[in-house]
């Protein structure tokens, strides 16, 4: 079913609530009118402002920290350093290796050393600058290839994880062998709303956070451990979340804030500057990949050998998970009988890497798709045809030994984008109005522009992998004909709150459904990553709603001597199958309030073993993208004209939202492919601002042709729906690189594509 037909249906009188309808977000009016209160707008009487002192060096020994001057400044209430951390000094996802404040060694540019609370943000900033830190500069390790033999940068060593994946016959060879080395840059999540939040001390000695956290329970636990408090005395209230595509307001941000509130006894607010934001949060793993593909004379893959090196930056964070994804999906959605992939994630003095949409999977996608182009070039075959000969299908085995049991309509997706009509050439408009690479009023010259078409196939896993417990709990209540959802799944722009409303509308036949704000007094629903809320949290909401439905209908069914399944609810009315019974939900409730709480826990997974084998993933999602690009081959300017996408979505719950999420993902992919790279020089972040870090603008965002959304339901997923956001991010860069390759004949082995790599010199 294509999106366009759905849109027509929705406009033509289809239901405006319930599953399958394009229900608008409930905060859309407030956000467009500018009245939505973001976390940065929070205010409390008597609040103090925080500022963080960050290291100007990527690697240094701290000889002394003198806070005397800062403390004596008028208006300053507290200055805290590593000595003031009452509980655990280290935190971190997976592996606790990251100090709240650096005390002995600074391991990356921008690492926090001290924090100040003062009565004015400028005073706080000046006081932070007045903290005197004496450094002994150390040689930074910035090349991940040198991390192996370098002196350990951390007591835990420099190797964060190593996965050797071995499957099949190591001696197998093919008629065709292609090799390549690929480099992927450091993408920053660059949330348009920078980190901000408020910490308020509680009378019981605890602290409450009002922040836009995307994983409130994990952040609460990290904060409690650091403060030496019981988790019950720390509360995270999620409020005013600006959009996120990575972990927001992680402990590195929360902990200094909470410590200052505990120390001063006053509410403390921290609103990160853009520079603070760039230096303080984690980025996508810069990756070095070496590949060798063996294929037979028809281009069918025989063996893939790969080495993948992830630069984890100074601290582990989610590097282990990113590496697992990179190694597992190193061969892509293709049937590969023999795979030998070795992956490492290492510690360096670069800015820390962490969770960003499609981490691990995105980097390898760019590399294996480049390899597929090379195989095609060597064979002299159509790159799309070579891909079609190798695609994975349900029942095939992944290189990790896991059998693909979910729908894997890769062949169908590829066929759909191949058959899609090409974007029209602007034949009928005057040359001056063409949007050429370089932009309007730019230097573009039509005679130097070449058009290229490229394909990308990508895959990601949904939900946490390797045995992580992905449980979510949700509560649904109904009172006076209004449904309420209580679930700790954070709405950060991905549309979960809208989906939750739609689910309850559908199950309970109500129009009025509200989603309650999230805080850690509710049972956990986990981090908002890898599409887990669409799958797990929405599953819990549905289950709870169904329990409420049963509570509502069973007494009626008993009265009329029929089974509850024979009763229907629609638009607030309860009717029986034969139409004899008709009442309203409000009457049936008779003033009662019905509550139900349910959990959803997907089937368990197992960690990858010593050979990289194991059923590590709950669900998979696939996507095919055809990119059409224009390249100015003299100056190397690239403009993505159109991205045609076909995606495996399981089931469309909200067509408008699905389209928006796919468009957003593709645009983020355009950023990785063309401009986004947080550059460092010997470990120092250069240009930590939005002038130097070029995000795609509206003019850079391509036309998106949603060719096909394949709705084959995954039987193990609630409603059969899959999250749609991640896989376009993973696939679009590979497709764009492939198209630039087609336009220029250059290798394009580095992302973002530098202008000099998209130039045809002609000599």
């Amino acid at each position: 079913m294509s999106y366009d037909t759905v849109a027509v249906d929705a406009d033509g009188g289809a239901p405006f609530h319930g599953i399958g309808a394009s229900v608008p977000r409930d905060d859309v009016d407030a956000k467009t009118a500018g009245t939505f209160a973001y976390a940065a707008d929070l205010w409390a009487e008597g609040l103090l402002w925080a500022a963080v002192l960050r290291s100007p060096h990527p690697h240094a020994r701290i000889l002394s920290v003198d806070t005397t001057h800062a403390r004596e400044m008028p208006g300053v209430h507290a200055v805290i350093t590593a000595e003031d951390v009452p509980g655990e000094a280290l935190h971190g996802r997976g592996r606790g290796d990251r100090p709240v404040f650096a005390s002995d060694v600074v391991r990356h540019h921008g690492e926090a050393i001290a924090a100040v609370a003062a009565d004015h943000p400028d005073t706080a900033r000046m006081a932070a600058a007045a903290v005197i830190v004496e450094y002994e500069l150390l040689e930074p390790v910035t090349d991940p290839e040198h991390a192996f033999e370098a002196e350990p940068l951390h007591p835990d060593g420099n190797l964060l994880r190593h996965i050797p994946l071995r499957r099949g016959d190591p001696e197998a060879t093919g008629e065709i062998v292609v090799e390549g080395t690929y480099r992927i840059g450091r993408q920053d999540p660059a949330p348009i709303g920078a980190e901000a939040g408020l910490a308020v001390p509680r009378p019981d000695g605890g602290v409450e956070f009002y922040v836009g956290s995307t994983d409130p329970h994990a952040h609460r636990d990290a904060a409690a451990a650091c403060f030496g408090l019981e988790p019950e005395r720390v509360r995270v209230v999620v409020t005013g979340v600006p959009g996120a595509d990575a972990d927001r307001e992680d402990p590195a941000f929360l902990l200094p804030l909470g410590l200052l509130a505990l120390r001063t006894g006053c509410p403390v607010k921290l609103a990160a500057s853009r520079e603070d934001s760039f230096l303080g949060h984690t980025h996508r793993h810069p990756t070095l990949l070496r590949y060798r593909h063996h294929a037979d004379g028809q281009g069918r893959l025989v063996k893939v050998e790969a080495q993948i090196l992830l630069d984890g930056g100074a601290y582990a964070d989610s590097s282990a998970e990113a590496l697992a994804a990179a190694v597992s999906f190193a061969c892509g959605p293709y049937v590969v009988p023999n795979a030998f992939v070795e992956g490492w994630a290492v510690r360096t003095n670069n800015p820390p890497s962490g969770y960003v949409r499609g981490e691990g999977a995105m980097q390898v996608c760019a590399a294996y798709e480049a390899q597929m182009d090379k195989v095609a070039r060597k064979l002299g075959a159509d790159p799309a045809e070579v891909r079609a000969r190798n695609v994975l299908a349900t029942g095939d085995v992944l290189p990790t030994g896991q059998t693909v049991t979910c729908p894997a309509p890769v062949a169908e997706l590829l066929a759909a984008v191949r058959e899609a009509p090409m974007p029209e050439l602007p034949k009928d408009t005057p040359v001056e109005e063409w949007l050429l690479p370089g932009g309007p009023e730019g230097p573009g010259d039509p005679s130097a522009v070449r058009r290229g078409v490229g394909y990308g196939l990508g895959m990601v896993h949904l939900l946490g992998a390797e045995g992580s417990d992905e449980v979510a709990t949700a509560t649904v209540k109904i009172k006076d004909g209004v449904g309420t959802v209580l679930c700790a799944a954070v709405e950060y722009g991905q549309g979960f709150a809208t989906l939750a409303r739609q689910i309850v509308q559908e199950v309970l036949g109500l129009e009025d459904v509200v989603v309650a704000p999230v805080d850690t007094d509710q049972p956990p629903a986990g981090a908002g990553s890898r599409g887990r809320h669409t799958w797990v949290s929405a599953g819990a909401v549905e289950r709870a709603a169904k329990m409420v439905r049963t509570q509502l209908l069973q007494p009626l069914a008993d009265t009329f001597g029929m089974s509850a399944e024979l009763l229907q609810i629609a638009e607030g009315k309860i009717t029986s199958y034969d139409g004899l019974l008709s009442t309203t939900v409000v009457e049936a409730l008779a003033g009662k309030e019905l509550w139900a709480t349910a959990q959803c826990r997907p089937h368990p997974t197992e960690p990858l073993d010593a050979d990289g084998q194991g059923d590590a993933y709950v669900g998979l999602a696939f996507c095919a993208v055809r990119a059409v690009v224009d390249v100015d081959v003299e100056v190397g300017a690239v403009r993505v004209v159109e991205l045609a996408v076909a995606q495996d979505v399981g089931r469309v719950l909200n067509p408008a939202q699905a389209r928006a999420r796919i468009e957003a993902g593709l645009t983020q992919g355009v950023g990785i492919a063309l401009t986004e790279n947080l550059r460092t020089q010997r470990g120092l972040v250069r240009h930590p601002d939005l002038g130097g870090y070029a995000l795609p603008t509206a003019l850079d965002a391509p036309d998106v042709r949603l060719v096909r959304l394949v709705e084959e339901r995954d039987v193990v997923a609630p409603f059969g729906a899959k999250s749609v956001s991640t896989v376009p991010v993973v696939t679009a860069p590979a497709a764009i690189a492939s198209a630039v390759r087609a336009a220029t004949g250059r290798l394009v082995n580095r992302l973002p594509i530098r202008p000099q790599a998209a130039v045809v010199t002609g000599q």
Binding site: K31, A37, P74, G75, A118, P443, V518, V635, A694, D700
Partner: protein, 334 residues
Amino acid sequence: MCQSCHVRPVSTYRTAIRRGTGTRRFQAGGSGKGQAGLTTHTPHAPQAVTLPASLDEAVDALAATPTAVPVAGGTDLMAAVNSGRLRPSALVGLGRIAEIRGWQYQDGHALLGAGLTHARMGRPDFAALIPGLAAAARTAGPPQIRNAGTLGGNIASAAPTGDALPVLAALEATVIVAGPGGARREVPVSHLLAGVEMLRGGELIGYVRVPLLHAPQVFLKATGRTGPGRATASVALVLDPARRSVRCAVGAVAPMPLRPLEAEQWIAGLIDWDDNRALVPDAVTAFGDYVAAACIPDPAPAEDGSVQQLPPAVLHLRRTVAALARRALGRALS
């Protein structure tokens, strides 16, 4: 309603304003006295900002408060203030000086007010006058920046990526500087940018004097993306049929715009000025390479005489400059 709106444990700026507590609107955000009894929060004193109505008043205001910083569009200055790099004790706002927000004609020249915004310069009436400056103004950033940023500010900031600067250099514009006591002096813009002459304390950029050439002018800039962005290289090229000369300036590759004078003279000698400015196509290509080689020269040979190679990124920059210069000349002559 959004997820977070049902329970709002703390009020927000915006609710405070909506409730009509009007005084709060203008506070920079403070909580009154802190616990220590000392507070550094003082609402900005109104006299810290002066808004003179004429250029001479502005100069007087600067003389009265020598530490004051003049501000026009503020697109560069306020970014520095917001990031804490600059803490001006006082500001002299130039936005109300009507005389520098327009232009006038003066014996074959246009006297452009320093307060002309990029948005104003990008409009068709201005483009008919000085097309090169209009083209630079139209690419000078997103609409918000173009609406605020000014010609004078572009010169005062003197950023290497300032888009108006190569055009002014190619036009051989002069800056009219207003000083105390109604004094006016004229400084070539290239002298200001190269630091040959500097603005003295208490002086303001009043006007920019630009010749009206009545001939094609082109400004081309390469950026990293399709949307507005900072120039990685830019080329301004103007024809001066009266003097039978071509003037070209390359921006963003050096701290100030560069003029390839030899290349200009060479190409001006090849153009048939009497025959529709005809030129052989090969000469256009050679001009591009000439300009690029002049602005990004080969490195000097090493001491042992071996030839040094430019790094690939610099080679690409040179190639970009060559392409821009070639296209600019091609467009100017077409």
